[in-house]
Symmetry: C2
DNA sequence: GTCTATACGTCGATAGAC
DNA sequence: GTCTATCGACGTATAGAC
C-alpha cells in the first residue's frame, strides 16, 4: 500500500519552534519510528508510544498536537527519501517504480498497516490531519506518475493512445489494492498482477 | 471500494441460537442498517448504534459478540443480493461488473467508509472477525472473477495471453484503490481509469 | 518553552441482577 | 434474554512546575 517513490514536502517547521524544541521533537520522532519498526503497528496508542519513548503521553501531544499528527509524522519520516536504501532508477516505468517502493516499505514492520489506518481514517469525517495527508499524497503521487507517463509515451515506451492521468490513478490504485490483498493472505498474485499491468501499458503489448 | 457483485455466504447461524433470538437479532440488524444508511458511517460506536436502535449497548454485544462482528454483519447485510436493486447483467466484463457494483454501493452513505474501516482493521493483529471477513471476501471475489475471465477468454472477449488470476487480483485492487482515491478528492479519474483497464484487457485493444 | 500531573468524557467489554 | 453497573484504557485538555 505505501508506495511513494518518496513523498517529501517542505520540512514541518512550525511557528515559534526553536532549535532546542525541534531537536527534541526529532529525537522523540526517531525513537517512535524505532518502536514502530521493532514492534509493528500494534500498541499505537498515545500512551503506549509515550511509555516506550520514555515520556508522558502529554509530551507527545505537546510536540505533535494529536495522535493523528504523530502517526502522520512517523509515516512521513519512515518513508523519507534519506531513509530509502536504494536510488530511484531513472528509467523505470511507473509500475516498476511502485513495485520497488512497495518492496522497500514492506520491509518495515507495521508501516503498511500504519498507511492503511491513515487512509481509512482520512475517509471518515473530522480527521483533518489524516485527510490532508492522504489527499496530498494521492494528488502528488498521481501528478508525478502522470508526468513520467507523458515522458515515456514520448519515448515510445508506453502506449500513446491512453490518458496519462488515468494511467497514474490506475497504477496507484493497483499498487495500494494489491498490497492490501497480499498482506491479508500472501497468496494474492501481487507481483504477477503488477507485472501484467506493466505489460499492458507497453506499446507492443 | 466495496464492489462485491454481491457476497453471499451461508447465513450466520450460530450454535444455540433459537428462532426468537434470531428474529430479534435480525430486527436489531435491520434497524442498524437503516441508521447507517441515514447517517453515514459516523457515530459507529456500540453505544451510539444502541441509542439509535433503542437498546443498551450490552444488548448489542449479546447478539453480535463485539462491535467488529456487528459491523461485519451490517456490511454483509447491506450488500446482500436481495438488496441489490438491479440484476447482474451476464455479459458484463469483470471490470464492468466492478463498476456497476461500486455504483450501487456508493449510493449507500457510509458503506464505503465502513468497508475501508473493516479492511484496515483486518490488517491489524487481534481482530479475527474483520480478518476473516476481508480474507474471505477477497478470496471469493478473485475466484469468481477469475472464472469469468476464463469464460470470456474462451469467447474471445478478453486477451488470451494473460493470467486469469492476475487479472482478477488486478481488477479488484484497481476498483478498491480507485474508490478510495475518488472518495478523498472527487477529482480522481476513477471511471476513466477503470474504463482504461477494461480496454487494455480486450483483445483488439 | 518543556513537560508532568491530573481530570474529563467516551470507548468496548464484562459480570451479575432480574 | 436483557438490563444496570462497573472496569480499564483511550484521546484530549488544562493548570502549573521548572
Amino acid at each position: 500500500m505505501p508506495a511513494d517513490t518518496s513523498d517529501h514536502a517542505e520540512p514541518p517547521r512550525q511557528r515559534g519552534a526553536y532549535a532546542k524544541g525541534i531537536a527534541r521533537r526529532q529525537e522523540i520522532l526517531d525513537r517512535a519510528i524505532e518502536v514502530f519498526a521493532e514492534r509493528g503497528a500494534d500498541r499505537t496508542s498515545l500512551r503506549a508510544i509515550a511509555r516506550e519513548v520514555g515520556v508522558t503521553h502529554a509530551a507527545l501531544t505537546h510536540y505533535f498536537g494529536s495522535l493523528e499528527e504523530l502517526l502522520v509524522a512517523v509515516y512521513q519520516e519512515s518513508t523519507a527519501p534519506e531513509r530509502q536504501p536504494s536510488s530511484p532508477a531513472d528509467d523505470a516505468t511507473p509500475v516498476e517504480m511502485m513495485i520497488e517502493s512497495a518492496r522497500i516499505n514492506r520491509a518495515i514492520p507495521g508501516l503498511v498497516q500504519l498507511y492503511s489506518t491513515l487512509v481509512a481514517t482520512a475517509l471518515e469525517e473530522g480527521h483533518p490531519a489524516a485527510r490532508t495527508f492522504a489527499t496530498d499524497r494521492f494528488t502528488r503521487l498521481r501528478g508525478r506518475l502522470a508526468d513520467i507517463v507523458r515522458e515515456q509515451q514520448a519515448d515510445g515506451r508506453i502506449r500513446k493512445d491512453i490518458d496519462p492521468d488515468a494511467v497514474a490513478a490506475l497504477v496507484v490504485a493497483a499498487s495500494d489494492g494489491l498490497q492490501t490483498q497480499w498482506l491479508l493472505d500472501g497468496t494474492a498474485p501481487q507481483h504477477e498482477a503488477l507485472a501484467l499491468l506493466d505489460r499492458l501499458l507497453r506499446p507492443e503489448s
